[in-house]
């Protein structure tokens, strides 16, 4: 168990700068999720901590030790990947004991201790009945448990997970998420988990690190990301479904602040109005949580005309994705109403801006009042 500190970490692959200066402090025993779209640098960052990639510049500390120059095995990290990377010619026991029998470790563990460690990790992961089974005989969920067990068997200082549950089916994914988190709570190992799935990050992370283009956009608890997204990018990435982004033109009508979105004019409401009060004739980005967007009637106040792009059931709710006139960014909402929609239908949506977030349209940074 240890804290992990990265400072000024950069990494370039040819012309591509995968990491462009990463500063990050991960507290001891924390479960941290690295979240971002493909190509944001999250996997590269994980691989740098593991020692599978060397950093160009910058420092990585695990506990009190600088590790940038250490070989992977000397960093004492446990790794589990999306594709398990198990040894197909070994059985479950062989895979679990592998890190303890690795050539460089030969002197370290006796057979008795290896067997005892394998048994205890297998029991922890509910795979003790499978120890003599070949890998090919296992289901996806069982393979993922073996991969986790192999990562944990040598009591690593840090556990590194790369999309460990992404490709499991819905039911198993849900089960494995719960197990992962409970397991981490029990063993207390500092954990870094890479995912592109914001719901997974929110479900598991004590802290979430949102990354984009090789940089960190925001570090925060799941609640912080939802209630105070630092950038419009973060806002468009969190929530179930994620918040919708609108570009609005600020204006005045009879001395009252208005937001022009396409042909519609919206009143910003008290809180947002205060936030935008000092600004004139410029664009702002507004992020609206999905449950503050509802179906409306064309022509009513606070409504915008929209065209249906997709409609699908999520549990008992209908999720509707619409496009607004002149905006390339889709808007998502959910409703309990049972509508027979077709793609291309014209509908009207009503926006409640009281809990919306506002961002500078140029920098994407959050606009906030001093009281915020």
């Amino acid at each position: 168990m240890a804290e992990v500190q990265l400072s000024g970490v950069r990494k370039r692959f040819g012309l591509v700068e995968a990491l462009r200066g990463i500063d990050l402090a991960i507290p001891d025993s924390a479960y941290v999720c690295l979240l971002g779209p493909s190509g944001c640098g999250k996997t590269t960052l994980l691989r740098c901590v593991a020692g599978l990639e060397t950093v160009d510049t910058g420092q990585i500390r695990i506990g009190s030790q600088n590790v940038e120059a250490l070989e992977p095995f000397a960093r004492n990290v446990g790794l589990a990947f999306q594709n398990y990377a198990l040894y197909p010619h070994l059985d479950v026991r062989g895979n679990l004991s592998f890190p303890l029998r690795a050539p460089r470790r030969r002197a370290e563990f006796g057979d008795g201790e290896i067997e005892q460690r394998v048994k205890s990790i297998a029991t922890l992961l509910h795979i003790d009945a499978l120890l003599d089974k070949p890998i090919v005989a296992l289901s996806g969920g069982q393979k993922q448990r073996v991969a986790l067990g192999r990562a944990l068997v040598r009591n690593p200082t840090v556990l590194l997970l790369d999309e460990p549950v992404t490709h499991l089916d819905a039911r198993l994914r849900h089960e494995m998420r719960v197990e992962l988190k409970l397991l981490q709570r029990r063993v207390g190992t500092t954990t870094i988990h890479v995912t592109h799935d914001q719901l997974e990050a929110q479900a598991l992370g004590d802290l979430i690190v949102v990354m984009r283009d090789g940089l960190i956009e925001q570090v925060g608890t799941p609640d912080e990301l939802c209630t105070r997204p630092a950038t419009s990018f973060v806002a468009s990435f969190v929530g179930d479904p994620p918040m919708s982004l609108l570009t609005a033109r600020l204006g005045q009508e009879a001395g009252v602040l208005s937001l022009r979105v396409g042909a519609a004019r919206l009143r910003p409401g008290e809180r947002l109005g205060r936030l935008l009060g000092g600004l004139r004739d410029q664009d702002v980005e507004i992020a609206v949580p999905a449950h503050h967007i509802a179906l409306g009637h064309a022509g009513d106040e606070q409504t915008i005309a929209a065209r249906v792009q997709a409609h699908e059931w999520v549990g008992r709710e209908l999720q509707i994705v619409v496009a607004l006139n002149g905006s390339p960014v889709p808007v998502r909402l959910r409703t309990q109403q049972r509508l027979a929609l077709r793609i291309g239908d014209e509908i009207a949506i009503r926006l409640d801006l009281e809990s919306a977030h506002a961002f500078d349209s140029k920098t994407g940074r959050r606009l906030q009042s001093s009281a915020d």
Binding site: Q202, C226, D240, G315, R316
Partner: protein
């Protein structure tokens, strides 16, 4: 366009494995129907026998009331799309799409017009000159769809067409497939193991298991009125919670001694059976968590998973583990003791043969 009917279709492999068992199913003209189930449930076999890629043992298949199962595959007028798009690597995207038309020896001008139209619908006019090696996974799959589409077939059969693509591409392409299908109105059968995909794309969903059709219905039918425990468990995320119950008398039940209020239709269904090994099913959305109350079902919160405006809460109860979805501002802390209550009209009861007692009841 076609209305497709499976009548008592069975397929048994020489080793005795029953891939399809007595399938009776009507796919309406212009409908998009999903076959949903775990691997090995018979969903792929079903469209493969329809396409004529595999034979079957018993029954018949009709298209617009005409038997087609004796016809060779090319005469059945179905276009199939697979997970691996099987493009010709030495041909451009244009030529790949044109292939079925060239095989029919259509005039060059007509081929050009039809391929161009398809390319426009799929928004890939700029890719027509490229070979597959210069296309991304999503683009290749679009070319695959284009090649199936260009024939203007009577039906579309899609076997996990998006299975191997990245998550964001899957979401984008499935919306495109749905749009295309709505526009063209071609009868489509879409095979998937992913319930989210099925819910997003289908008019109706067929849930299959072990070669048997379990239930046909809209996503909401499956979610709120599952006919058996398999469907109840397979559909819905996080999964339905199951708790063993005791029968206290003819029409009432208890969980670990706590009486469970039931709706009238459920009580009526209960009176019709003597079964004593019943299982109660509750959707995580249908739990409410409050302070613990004596003589109620109480439990300890083991894990809280925030999800934006709601949270998934795992609770350990004397009857077994339970999962509840609660609004974020009312989520309890891990370790807290909570009381669980649930909406009586939303409950499900399953008998010892895993059949729902209240099958088709309620308007949930």
């Amino acid at each position: 366009m076609a209305r497709i009917e499976f009548k008592d279709v069975s397929k048994t492999y020489p080793d005795g494995t029953r891939a399809i068992v007595d399938l009776n199913l009507v796919v309406e003209d212009g409908e998009l129907l999903c076959l949903l189930g775990p691997s090995g449930c018979g969903k792929s076999s079903t469209i493969r026998v329809l396409a004529g890629l595999e034979t079957f043992s018993d029954g018949m298949i009709l298209a617009d009331n005409n038997r087609i199962d004796h016809l060779p595959p090319q005469a059945r007028d179905c276009a199939m799309i697979f997970e691996n798009y099987a493009l010709y690597p030495h041909l451009t995207a244009f030529e790949n799409i044109a292939m079925p038309l060239r095989a029919r020896r259509l005039p060059a001008a007509e081929i050009k017009a039809r391929v161009t139209k398809i390319a426009r619908i799929l928004r890939m006019e700029h890719l027509m000159g490229r070979r597959p090696s210069r296309l991304s996974g999503g683009e290749k799959q679009r070319v695959g769809i284009g090649r199936a589409l260009v024939r203007e077939p009577a039906m579309f059969l899609m076997d996990e067409p998006l299975g191997h693509l990245e998550a964001y591409l899957r979401v984008e392409l499935r919306a495109e497939i749905r749009k295309l299908q709505e526009r063209l109105g071609i009868t489509t059968i879409y095979v998937t193991h992913d319930q989210e995909e099925a819910a997003a794309i289908a008019d109706r969903i067929v849930v299959m298991s072990a070669g048997r059709l379990q239930q046909v219905g809209s996503f909401l039918d499956l979610f709120d009125r599952p006919v058996n425990r398999f469907v109840a468990e397979f559909v819905g995320e996080p999964p339905m919670v199951f708790l063993p119950v005791e029968r206290t008398n003819a029409d009432s039940i208890a969980v670990k001694g706590v009486r469970i209020p039931l709706s009238e239709p459920l009580r009526a269904a209960l009176r019709t059976t003597q079964d004593r090994e019943l299982i109660l099913g509750i959707r995580p959305n249908d739990f409410s968590l409050g302070p613990p109350v004596r003589d109620h079902l109480n439990g300890t919160v083991t894990l809280v998973q925030p999800q934006g405006d709601h949270a998934i809460v795992a609770v350990s109860t004397p009857a077994g583990p339970a999962t509840a979805i609660v609004p974020s501002d009312r989520r309890p802390a891990p370790g807290a003791t909570v009381g669980l209550t649930f909406a009586g009209e939303r409950l499900h009861l399953f008998d010892s043969a895993a059949r729902a007692l209240n099958k088709g009841e309620g308007d949930g």
